[in-house]
Amino acid sequence: MDGALNSFLLLSNFVLVPGMAYGSQLAIGALGVTLVYGILRFSNFAHGDTMAFGTMAVILVTWLLQAWGVSISPLPTALLALPFGILATIVLLLLTDRWVYRFFRREKAAPVVFLIASVGVMFVMNGVVRFIIGPNDQRFADGERFIIKAREFKRLTGMNEGVAFKTSQGLTIVTAVIVVAALFWFLNRTRAGKSMRAYSDNEDLALLSGINPERVVMITWILAAALATIAGTLYGLDKSFKPFTYFQLLLPIFASAIVGGLGNPLGAIAGGFIIAFSEVTVTYAYKKFLAYNLPPDWAPDSLMQLLSTDYKFAVSFVILVLVLLIRPTGIFRGKAI
């Protein structure tokens, strides 16, 4: 009985809590991709680098605030810098839309042209981020690191296994809930949100009923900027900020959006958690877990890891492939076929 409880705690520490946090980050990222897809009808390859840009802005403001001695300890200062980062990213995305995408929209260009344009935008953003902050790792988390430390947990409960709960993880989950609630309130209750959904469902009908398409597009970019910055900052607080990692996040984010159904916000959230938990469970080493649950002489010698963590991208990819093979519209029936 003790063994079962200990192994449950072990899994909570290494699978459940990190999976929840990572899943929330992916979900917020995928929401941005899915919104842009729903309104502008292309997969935005620049989303990863938009996240990097937003996070960079947050980091710079955080450093400034730290230099001024502003702090909201025990919470990280980055939280205070977040609105400024979002603002900077909104400006960036609105300018990109004006200079790049608007022309192709007027031309009624094929979706693949938008896709290529977004690759160009990705290049430029990537260059800007590396130019300003450099290609290296940056840590900007401060404040209290843990909500519960593993050792304290053990002392309190008297169990063998402790569950550590990092501030960044708690923050991620709380923020995700707030962001998702706010987004759904916006999409379902406000006029602007309703016009967005109408435009996404049936463009012609929406135009006919007097919805201004440029306004819808603008709101979409504002939301995408906010979501990208929040997702990027939470990821950076939880792990660390490195421009190339953010580019690599594109794959799990796209996989999340497609698994849930491109263009479907609810699907993006489900997809994010599916991808995150698959990644974490497949790359976790089950040696200790099995040692708790098996008779002593059966305990395995090897790590009992299904896949090494270097292959975590393979997990998103395999799930993506399965979805494309079995149900190309995604679990929640998105737009794309």
């Binding site: 794959l251 292959y311 494309l324």
Partner: protein, 436 residues
């Protein structure tokens, strides 16, 4: 019209060679030839992408993966086999390979014979999971044994010890095989899905090359691959070569380096011309017309009885094979295989810029784009540094901002490439040499 078009192409190519000659005169001929060699390889790669994008409108974001497959073919063909590693672990690897094939065969058979439904899904899942653990049972110990064989020098199985030129063909076959699998899954769906699937597969291929030490030595790299051309040292010692250099009045060391690069350039030019000839032939054949018809209006082509998805698969495989060949050529030129050097920006997106700038759908355009963009890519760094130096010359010598700007000059390249792509896409979407 056609006359005009040819004149423009000839003029642009002449300008390109003039630029290369300028580098030769101003910097050194050795450097100019080094640029030419990479230009030739880039041109082959962009021909491959052009086959996919220009002929059929397929957006492949996994060029890096296919190029890396070509590179690994270079290692697997040319390196002499490590007999000790084969003795200790070869059997285990062979058994796991057989088991992998067996699992796939059983899964396919099961999929064919059980009617669709939850039952079939369950059976397939059981077969695949069981196969996975069975393979791991043989595979893991074998890998451990192989990687323990002189890890500082070998620690991998080695290759077949054949001439490295053969790897150019094999690299193409590897890339074609992977392209078949990816195409089967992602083609016939929306264009975005192919983009995302290729992005994923290329990341996975590179991750495998970095981590499967038993096959590729991983990040320990394989260096000293045998060459298809003579070595500088041997040339410098050969009497005939010394005489030749003396007659021409050049230093033996410099001449040997130029000579070797010329040999490579000759080989690459042959491949480039061959691929170009085939591409031109196919583009002007009934097949090429059909491809363009499909690209321009899928619905109409499909109504005329053309198998759109089938043709897309075909063209995707062909283009990927060309990219694989170019990848093998690159590894041959480098003389080493370094998995960590495969970066998506360097291997995927720059090739795209080449195709778009050169003129999508036009093979000569793709070749020109390969030359122009590679040239800019190489020269952007000194120019960027010079620019930054100019910009910051008024600043204090020890100023932090100046140092930061100078250090960041290297990242100007990314921005330049992105800007070129966006500007061409916006103002001249048909590229330097437009499609007829």
């Amino acid at each position: 019209m056609s006359k005009n078009f040819n004149r423009r192409a000839v003029l642009l190519f002449a300008l390109m060679f003039a630029a290369l000659a300028t580098v030769g005169f101003a910097q050194s001929w050795s450097l100019a030839l080094a640029i030419v060699n990479l230009c030739l390889i880039s041109a082959v790669m962009s021909l491959g992408v052009n086959i996919q994008w220009g002929y059929a409108g397929l957006f492949n974001v996994g060029v890096m993966g296919f190029a890396a497959l070509g590179g690994v073919a270079g290692v697997l063909m040319s390196v002499p086999p490590v007999t000790e590693a084969w003795r200790v672990g070869g059997g285990g690897i062979a058994i796991s390979l057989m088991l992998a094939i067996g699992t796939i065969v059983v899964a396919v058979l099961a999929a064919r014979h059980i009617p669709p439904g939850n039952m079939r899904r369950l059976v397939l899942a059981v077969i695949i999971v069981a196969g996975f653990f069975l393979i791991r049972a043989f595979f893991d110990p074998a890998v451990e044994l192989i990687e323990a064989v002189e890890p500082a020098k070998t620690g991998f199985l080695g290759g077949l010890g054949l001439p490295i030129i053969l790897s150019w063909v094999v690299g193409g076959i590897f890339a074609a095989g992977v392209a078949w699998i990816v195409g089967k899954i992602a083609l016939g769906l929306r264009s975005d899905y192919l983009a995302i699937a290729t992005l994923g597969i290329s990341e996975i291929i590179v991750a495998m090359l970095k981590n499967e030490d038993w096959l590729t030595r991983g990040v320990k790299n394989v260096s000293g691959l045998p060459r298809p051309v003579p070595y500088e040292v041997n040339l410098q010692q050969a009497i005939w070569f010394q005489d030749w250099a003396a007659t021409l009045g050049v230093g033996v060391v410099e001449f040997s380096s130029i000579y070797v690069k010329l040999c490579y350039a000759g080989l690459f030019t042959i491949v480039l011309l061959f691929v170009l000839w085939l591409s031109q032939r196919s583009l002007n054949s009934p097949w090429g017309r059909m491809m363009r018809a499909i690209r321009d209006n899928e619905v109409a082509a499909s109504a005329m009885g053309k198998n759109v998805t089938g043709r897309h698969l075909q063209v995707f495989i062909l283009g990927s094979a060309v990219i694989g060949i170019a990848g093998a050529m690159l590894t041959t030129l480098d003389g080493q295989f370094t998995p960590a050097s495969y970066q998506p920006l360097r291997f995927t997106f720059i090739i795209w810029v080449m195709v778009i700038v050169g003129g999508s759908g036009n093979n000569w355009g793709a070749v020109l784009g390969g030359f122009v963009i590679w040239f800019c890519w190489i020269e952007a760094e000194p120019v960027g540094l010079w620019f930054m130096d100019m910009l910051t010359s008024g600043m204090d010598e020890g100023s932090g901002l100046r140092k930061h700007l100078l250090d960041s000059a290297a990242h100007m390249r990314l921005m330049t490439m992105g800007l070129i792509l966006l500007l061409v896409l916006r103002f001249s979407p048909r590229g330097l040499i437009p499609e007829k």
